[in-house]
């Protein structure tokens, strides 16, 4: 299948997943929020649906990667990966969302906060890639 069509199809699946979670459970499919709140909520019902979502995400996502023969690693080295992980974790917690919560869901409900967040993280990421690849000549 055409690469653009596959990309579009994948995007539609992500959108349908978020729409289903909102329609049936009234929840926003924001992955950073779902993951971080696993550690702070002792309330079983609040905890259980998040665990179920993460199990589904990792189980089906991992299986699809195997099925597609997808295993490309990041070009970044270990120190960069550790730094990047800390920044992504800290930043998505501070900014109340990531690509899913602000990007897919926030833009979908026409949130001004999410639009600002998406424009900010896209710009920061594009500048970072420019600096690493074209000014520093690095691998990432």
């Amino acid at each position: 299948m055409n690469v653009w069509l596959v990309a579009l199809l994948g995007g539609v699946l992500i959108g349908l997943s978020s729409a289903a979670l909102l329609l049936f459970n009234g929840r926003i499919a924001g992955i950073s929020g779902i993951v971080y709140s696993l550690v702070k909520r002792p309330d079983w019902s609040e905890w259980a649906w998040r665990i179920a979502f993460v199990i589904g995400l990792m189980g089906a996502g991992g299986a699809t990667m195997h099925w597609l023969g997808q295993s490309t690693p990041s070009p970044a080295g270990t120190p960069t990966l550790l730094l990047a992980g800390l920044l992504v974790g800290f930043g998505t917690s501070m900014g109340s969302g990531c690509t899913s919560g602000h990007g897919v869901c926030g833009l979908g409900r026409l949130s001004k906060r999410s639009l600002v967040a998406v424009l900010t993280f896209m710009t920061a990421a594009i500048i970072t890639v420019y600096v690493v690849r074209h000014l520093l000549g690095g691998a990432a």
Binding site: G10, N25, T72, L86, V129
Partner: protein
């Protein structure tokens, strides 16, 4: 119980979508972010497909008085653009640009057995926890 099943299936659909769209391949993500180099437009179709779907679907879903299996919609209530939002998003963007991983694809990458995702994910969880502890004390 039915809500747990919905969450499981929703997560599964999200995971399949991330893998099919190659969001789980950091080199594809970095190619999309490399606007001034070897630019790969494919991810614009992923975001377009996802946001197009949620924009139409959320419009109809939020017209309902309540969700199918719950008593109310739990939507973020904050509506002002503040400093933590912008600074947090900028910090996240730098980390995304350094690695090609955002939270969803990092989780799926670990399940797919990709070593760089296994290095990234614990650091990401530590970063998220560090912010929550810092906010509690500050």
């Amino acid at each position: 119980m039915i809500r747990l099943l919905v969450a499981l299936l929703s997560g599964a659909l999200f995971g399949v979508g991330l893998a099919v769209s190659q969001m789980t391949d950091p080199t594809v993500v970095l190619g999309f972010l490399d606007m001034f180099g070897d630019f790969n437009l494919a991810l614009a179709f992923v975001l377009g497909g996802a946001v197009g779907t949620t924009t139409v679907a959320f419009h109809f879903v939020l017209k309902r008085s309540k969700p199918v299996f719950a008593d109310l919609f739990q939507i973020p209530t904050a509506c002002t653009v503040d400093r933590p939002l912008v600074i947090g998003a900028a910090i996240f963007g730098v980390g995304w640009g350094l690695s090609g991983y955002c939270p969803g694809p990092a989780l799926v990458g670990v399940a797919g057995g990709v070593q760089t995702a296994m290095i990234f994910l614990p650091a990401m969880l530590a970063g998220g926890l560090a912010h929550r502890l810092w906010r509690l004390r500050g």
